[in-house]
Every structure is written in C-alpha cells, then in structure tokens.
C-alpha cells in the first residue's frame, strides 16, 4: 500500500452506529487516511463539512431519523467526492442517488479502501 492514492487523504465518516463508526475509522486509519469525525448525525456532519478541509467522505445513507441526502447535497456543492454506504438495495434509494457509487453493507476494509481509491483516481 505504499503508493496508495488514499494515503494521507482527509476522509469524513458519517455513521450513526458507534461500533460501525469505530470499525470504519479503524479501517481507514489502516489505509493511511486521516479520519474526520466520525459524525453520528446530519447536523454534526454539516458542521464538520463547514469547518474541516476534506478530500472525500464516506456516508451511511440511513442515519437515526433521517437520510444523508442533505449531506450529499452539501458535499456535491463543494465538489467533494463521497461514497454512499447502505444496507438498502439500490432500487430502494431515491433516483438521484442510484447512479452514485454505492457500497453495500457489510463492506470489508479492503473493498472500502479500493472503492475510495477508485473514486479518487477517477476524479484525478
């Protein structure tokens, strides 16, 4: 993983489940990323987006009482790439999100890192 694209990237994690957030943080740290957050709610995430410089974001679609739709919009506004992660099937998502890069829960650390790499590469 020496010359990985994700090395040193600032990645925002938005995930309401603490244990999952811990795991994701762990996985990204393993990949050499600098984790921002994790944020358990939309409000926390939006605050972090406003205050922290970000390279990309990893969003859980369903948060406790809402979805991360607003976060996605905020990120898109700033041209920050993000990965969507959900337990839902693609068909159950709103149309505007269906074509986004989507990770199906559960996701292995390897796949997560590969997906991050892919979006960062494709943007470059």
């Amino acid at each position: 993983m020496a010359s990985s694209t994700i090395q040193g990237k600032r990645v925002l994690i938005v995930e309401d489940e603490s244990i999952i957030a811990m795991m994701l943080e762990c996985e990204l740290n393993d990949g050499g990323c600098e984790v921002i957050g994790p944020a358990p709610s939309v409000e926390d995430a939006l605050r972090l987006i406003d205050t922290e410089p970000l390279d990309c974001a990893l969003l859980d679609y369903r948060l406790a009482d809402e979805t991360s739709g607003r976060i996605a919009s905020a990120l898109a506004e700033r041209n920050i790439l993000f990965l969507m992660m959900t337990g839902h099937c693609a068909g159950d998502l709103p149309l505007e999100l269906r074509d986004k890069t989507l990770l199906q829960k559960p996701v292995t650390g390897k796949a997560l890192r590969a997906a991050l790499e892919w979006i960062l590469n494709s943007a470059a």
């Binding site: 489940e17 603490s18 244990i19 999952i20 358990p40 369903r62 337990g87 839902h88 829960k105 996701v107």
Partner: protein, 1041 residues
Amino acid sequence: MASESPFPIVGIGASAGGLRALEQFFETVTADLGMAFVIITHLAPDRESFLTDILARHTSLTVHVASDGQKVEPNSVYVLPPNASLTISGGALRLRQIEHGHSERSPVDVFFSSLAQECGEYAVGIVLSGSGSDGVLGIKAIKEQGGLVLAQSSDGTQPSFSGMPDSAIASGLVDFAVPVEDMAAKLAENRQSIGLVDALAGNGAPVGDHPDAKSIEMLYAVLRTQMGHDFSGYKKRTFIRRVHRRMQINHCDTLKGYVDLLQRDHEEPARLFRDLLINVTSFFRDAEAFDAFEKIVVPRLFERRGAADTVRVWVPGCSTGEEVYSIAILLREHMDKSTGSPRVTVFATDIDERALSVARAARYPPALMKGVSPERRERYFTNHSGSFVVAKAVRDLCVFSVHSVLRDPPFSRMDLISCRNLLIYFGADAQRQALPTLHYALRPGGLLFLGKAETIGRFSEMFAPVDKANCIFQSRDTGVPARMPAFINGLRPAPFLSHRADHIAPGGMGARQSAEARIADRFGPPHVIVNEDGDILHYSARTAKYLEAPYGVPSRQLLTSARKELRLDLRSALREAVETRRVATRDNIAFESAGDHVEHVSLTIEPLPEGMDGRPSFLVAFEEKDVSQDRSGDLSKVVQPETLATSPVEAELRDTRERLQGTIEEYETALEELKSANEELVSLNEEFQSSNEELESTKEELQSLNEELQTVNQELWAKVEDLDRANSDLTNLFASTNVATIFLDRDLVIRSFTPAVTSLFNIIATDKGRPLGDLAIKLDYPELQDDIKSVMRTGTLIERRVNQMVAGTPHFLSRLTAYRNTEGKIDGVVATFVDVTSLARSEERQRTLVAELNHRVKNIITVILALAKQTLTRTQGSEALMTRLYALARSHELLARESYGAVSLEEVVRQALAPYFSEGSQRLTLSGPAVALPPKVAMGFGMILDELATNAVKYGALSNSSGNVSVDWSSMDSPEDRASTLTLRWREDGGPRAADPKKRGFGLTLIDREVSYGLAGSAAYDFGETGFSGTFKIPLKPRPE
C-alpha cells in the same frame, strides 16, 4: 289405506282467480290438520307452472308436484302439473300425460269423481274461484259417496270469478258455502265427524239391529207427513248414511236428537229430503226401466215414420244431461239399424242454466259411466284425456234450453216426454199443474216416461198405463180439443182464453139448489148452469130447442152446442155476465126451430153465488117469446102495414145473420191459420235454439280458453312480481356497491351502470344507449377500447392495474369480462373498476418494510463484524466476543418483540442482566419509574449494561459471592425543548475495592463511545472503596406521536 287409519283427502278445484284464493286458503290451514290436499287447476298444456313455488311461500305444509304412483300423505299438498290429468286409486295418485294439443277441460270433475270412489266418506271437495262449471259433476259424485263439499261463497273475500263456485252452490250439493278464509276452520270443525258415519252405519252391522231402530221409524214418519214421500222402501244403508251426514252438519250426536231437530226446525226436513234424493244421474240409471224403454217405447216412436217426419222428444228437468244422452243413445241405436229413419230432436230443458252448460259440454268423468256398456262406450263416446265425451252423432240430436215446466209455455206435439224424478220435487199443487201441461205437450197417443217413485195420480183420464212397472204411460185422447193451459198472469186464467177440461167439476150441488129456487121464482124456463168458461155444469129439462149436439167430439161447451143463431148473443151475454157479475139479457132473438119456423127467445144470464169449489157459475135461462102472442098483444099498438113490412126486414136480418155467421167461420179459419203460423214460429224458434246452442258451446270453448289465459296471466303476474323484487334487489345492490360496473352491449353501447361509475366517467343516467367511446374517461387507460373489443372477440378476461403511475389519484383494478346471455353466447362486455388504492398503499408499505428489514439485517451484520474485529484485536478472547454477541441478540429480541417500537427501560435492564443473576436473586436491585425507550436507545443501553455486568464479574461486586448491584433511574423533563433527560445509575456494593480504571480496558471505552456517540449523552464513573459506580445521562427525544 288399509293398513293406516284413513284420513280425509281434500280435492281443491280452482281456475281463473284461483291463485289468490289458494294463497288465502293455505295461509289459514294449520300444519297439523291431518288432511292431504290435492290441487287441480286449469292449466295451459305447454307451460311450466310456478304454482308449487308460490304456494310453498304461503304454507308450512310440504308442497309437491304430483307424480304418478305418489303415495298421498297427510299434511301434504299435491299440485297437478301441466299437461296431465290426475286421478287417485289405492292411496296413490295416478298421473296421465295428455297428448300434445289436447287439454282436459274438466280436470276437477275427473279428479273429484275418482276421489269419491277412492275415499268415500273421507273425500272432501272444495270448489274455489273459476269460471265455467267444472266441478259440478265431481261434487255430485262426492256427495253420493257421503263426502263433504265446500264452495267459495260470494260474501267475505269474493271469488274473482264466481262461475265455478256458483254452479256448485246452485246444484244444491254444497254442504258449506263459506268465504275462502273460513274454509280451513270449517274443515277443522268437521275433521272429527268425517268418517264417523262409517263407524256408525258401517262395520256390516245390519241397520235393523241398530238400537235406534225406533228413531229410524220416526224419521220415516216425519218425512211421510212433512214431505209426503215414503222412504221406508229405500236402501237402509244409503238412507242412514245420508241421515248421518245431515246429523254431522247439524252437530247432532244421536238419531233421537236429530228426530227432535226435524220436528223443531221446519227447514230441516226439506234439506234432508233433498239430500236423500241425491242421485248420481249416471247413464242408464235404473237399467230395468231403460230396458223397457228400449223394447217398448223406442219401436213405437219410429212406427210408421218416414224420413220426412220428425220424432220429437222432450226431457224436462234434464239437469246435467245424463238421462238425455241415455235416451238419445237408444234412439240413435235404433236409427242406425234402419234406413230412412225420421229426424229425431230431443229437447232437453232445465231451469238451472249452469247444469245445462254441463250438459251442453257433454263431457263426463269415468265414475258416471258405470251404466254404459263397453260397446256403447266405444261407439257413442270418445275418451278424451280421462273423461268421456259424447259422440257428435248423439250430441247433435239434443237441443238444450232453459225452460220451466211450471212457468213457461210448454212445447207441443211431442212424441215422448221423459220426466224422470222431477215430479217428486214438486208439491201437490205443482204436480196438479205439471201433469196437464205434459198432457198438452204430448200429441195424442204420445208416451210419458216417469221415474220409479212417480205416478200420474188422479189424472188417469189423461194418461193410460203402457208398462205400469216401469212407469210408461200413453197420452189419452180426452176428446176435448187440446187447449194450452194458461201460464199468464200468475196462473189465473182469463175468461174465454182457455177451456179447462180438467175443471169440469161435478160439484155445485148447493148452486143447483139455489138455482132451483130461482127457477121456481121465474116459472121454470129451460136453462143450463155454466161455469165462467162456458162449460155446462147442469142441464134443465126442455133445452133441446136451443141446444143441439155439435159435430165432432162430444162437448159440453155451451157455445159449441147452442144453436148457431144463438151463439153470438150467448157469447156476448155470457161475457157481459162474467165481467160485470150482473144479470145480462138479450131479448127477441130469432132462430129457426124445427119446421122452418121462426121463433123468438130471450136470454137471461145471471151469476149464481159461488159454489163449494169457489168458482163462479152462471144460470143461462132461455125464455120463449111467443111471437103470435106478442103480435096479438102488440096489435093494439102496431098497425098492420108495419107488420107486413116486417117480413122483408126479417129476411134482411136473416141474411145479415148468415153473413155474420160466415164471418165468424172465416174468423175461426183465420184463427186456425194463425195457429199453424204459430207452430211454424215455434219450430223456427227451435232452430234458433239449436243455433244458440252452437253459440253456447263456442262461448264455452272461449270461456275455457279465457280461463287458461287468466291462469297464465295470474302466474305471469306472480312471476313479474318476483322479477320486480329481484330487480329491486339488484338496483339496491347497484346503489350500495362501491364497485363501478358498466354493462355494454354487442355494439359497445352502455346498457346500464352502477352509480360508482360516475366517479370514473363523465356519465349521467341519460347516457344509457350511448357508445362508451363518446364519454370522457377520468382514468389513465388508453387501451380501454382495444381491450373491450378483444374481450368481445375472444371472450377471455382482461385484468389491468389502472392509474398506478399517476400519483395522488385512486388506483383501480379494471376487469373486463364477456357478458354471456342465457344461451352462453357473448352479448356484450361487463367492465368493472375496483378501487384498489388501499391495496396499493399496503403494497407500498410492505415494500418499505422489506427494505427496512434489509437495511436492518445488513446493519446488524455490519455491527457484528465491527464488534468481532474490535474484540478480537483488543482482548484476544473469543468468550468476550460471544458474550457481546449474546447481549446484542438479547437487545434485538426485545426490540423484535415490540416490533421495533418503544420498549420499557426496566425490561431492557432485566433482559441485559438476566445471564448474570439467577431468577429472583437478592444481589440485584432495580428501581425507577416506567420509562419507554426508543429502539436505538434500548439497543445502546443493552450493550452498556452488558459491558458493566461483564466488568463487575471480572473485577467488581460479582467477582465474589457477597457483592450486589443496584440499578436505579429517573427521568426529568426539561421544559424548553420538550425533551427529557434520563439518568441511570449503576452502583456496585460489597465487592472488592474498585480496580484501577486503566485495567478496565476496552469495556469502558465501548461504553463511553456508545453513550457519547450513539446516545449523545454523558457518563461519569466513580471507583470508590465500596465498589464501582457509574452515572449515565441520556437525552430522550419526545416520542413522535
């Protein structure tokens, strides 16, 4: 019926308007009456009847369509099916199919007469509404066998058509004429007494041994004195049977009681008499008499008669015609044997128009055919679906008309009068009037055929016996010119209109005595005594000068025996005397006596006091005027020339008189001519009668057709009513259903639709008849027309979801099915639109749920993976992983139990700590108010408590055997954001001194993380001397309502 106790079988005859009567009747019949009912109606042959269904709605009895061989059970109703005739024998119904095109015109008679033979006393006949006279012959048969007869009377609920019941009532055979609604009660009332007669008179016990033999003698006596008829010679069994029938009807228990009633009630003897005289007037009744008739009477009738002659027969009181046809058959038989037979006309008359219509129809049930030999049956009857119809050859001989022997002018020049069993109904006066009438009607030498019990009484001068045993008599020529008896003005003859030979009474002795006294006063001129008709009752001496024996038959008529010259004056004087009841005189009447001698006479006619017979008589005195004496006496007054001048005057007078006489003779000739013209008129009248006859029978056929139409109409009405009801049900269904349905016909034109359709199409009631394509549709269903056409073509159902893609509108399931007519052919399309909005919503919800489940399952697996990863890397203990997974599973179980809704905090605590404490353990104390936790919070607490307990087991209060744990919580509302804060405290006690927090490791990290990150709360720990304690403050959002 042999094995079981017999029960009454009720035959019910009904026709036009009978449906309503039947309904009313059966509504009042109780289910336990113990009788069977057989319904006979006039039905069109090729129509299904709904009578069974209709009746079943009005009675609790079982209603069957009668079938052949069906056993008759009590409390059941049997209905005659169309196209069949019904009889009964051996306790079972016999059904006979009728060939197509024929119909039984008197099915009621056919069934009733077989019922009478089968059941005898247990036969009950009921005649309900209907036109015509079907049933009359049937009830005759029932009465003859001792059964009971009821007919619908016109009071109460009137029969719609009273022809049938009125005919029945007019026959005098009906026991009870009551309204239909009272009939069931009458039946119940008489139920006990039916069959009683059999028990009393039957069982073979000779009636003579009956203890009431004395009462029977009394009965005979009462009848003899009251009715003048002796019944002691009658068959005792029959006699007793009929007496018992009357007793039943009068509710008399004993014969003696009935005899008392007879003496008390003046009507009853007449009723009993009538019942006793009921005969089935079957064909050739009294075979012996008819044998004699055939041998003696028939040959005489045809004696010396050529083809141009007519044999005329009169049957007065012919009733329903059996006797008439019996005679006609005998005559026809004789005619068929020889060629050149004369014409035969049988005039049959009765006063009862209804009986005559039965006779005219000439159809008889088999029960009345017993006396007819098989050959005659074959030859003179046609068997027409169960009843016998008299052949045309016989029928054409007979002419029927309404006529009363007593009231109407009689027929004349009859060769035979058959008057059997009519005179016995007449009282003595009527008999005295009837016999001379019959004598008048017969030509001299004509024959009279009477019934067994009848005699010619005191009229032996009119009739001579031919065969006394069989009551055949011959008309005597009495010598008196036949004069028609008077029938005008209430039987009181006017003077000179008639000469009643029968009243030449030999009486008047008192009158003679008084006359003699007067004659003595008047010096005894020759005289006669006459009655008002001019018949001489008494002659005095010396009348020869004025009277002479007339030419022809001997006569006592004054006017025919007086000398020609006197007749005119006698006639006028007698009339004057009769009319004025005063003395009438005619003076100086000249007449030619013996030896060309003109003599003069004065007539004095004087009424005499009435004689013993109450009839007036008159004295006719001839007073001789001596002309010469007169002349000499008058000489003083009259001069000679005048006397001389008299002779030409006298001659002229004589001429005048002769002319007058000639005129009188001419008048009499004219009278004769008038008479013969009258005869011609009479025969013309007869011809009219016979065409009338034909019209009658045509009318009858029309009536029966009408009858059938009426019945059909009735049933049609009932069916229309049913249809109306069904239609109204459908209309209500249409209105109440929320399912939009459109019926389209073959051309896709709207036939009908339910109101719900208006929400889908711009449609109003007047759009029926418009093509569906014309209407604007509110549905997103562009393929509708094509689909409908495809269903029309293929007949296969097409089902579609409509409007599914249009948000905010109701969703519909459209079903297009073929409309098949009764033959199964496609005759249109039925389009149904079912609102499935709620169904669609449910589906949507379900989809959401599945997605949710998907999400949760994947999430939980992710959590497990994260746990595993964290636990395995940090503590290297698979046991710790398993414990955490179990804790997770327990929290999940609790959530699943509450369907991922709110759960109670206490439950969460108990569930989480259950593996660490035994049931009811003293080492755990819980306290706190009831708090409901949202699922996520519950999950978090589950994990936190598990970590706390794990630590307690490893390092704290649960590591020894004496420590204990208490968990308490409280919740505090904060007013500003409507949220509340839950504070939960974990306190350990009695364990070893709390260890260094650093040693607690990952467990506390996990708790901290969960409290602050997952639950957005805070945690505080205390590692005191007595043990570990932790306080957790968690904000609770208000539960969404």
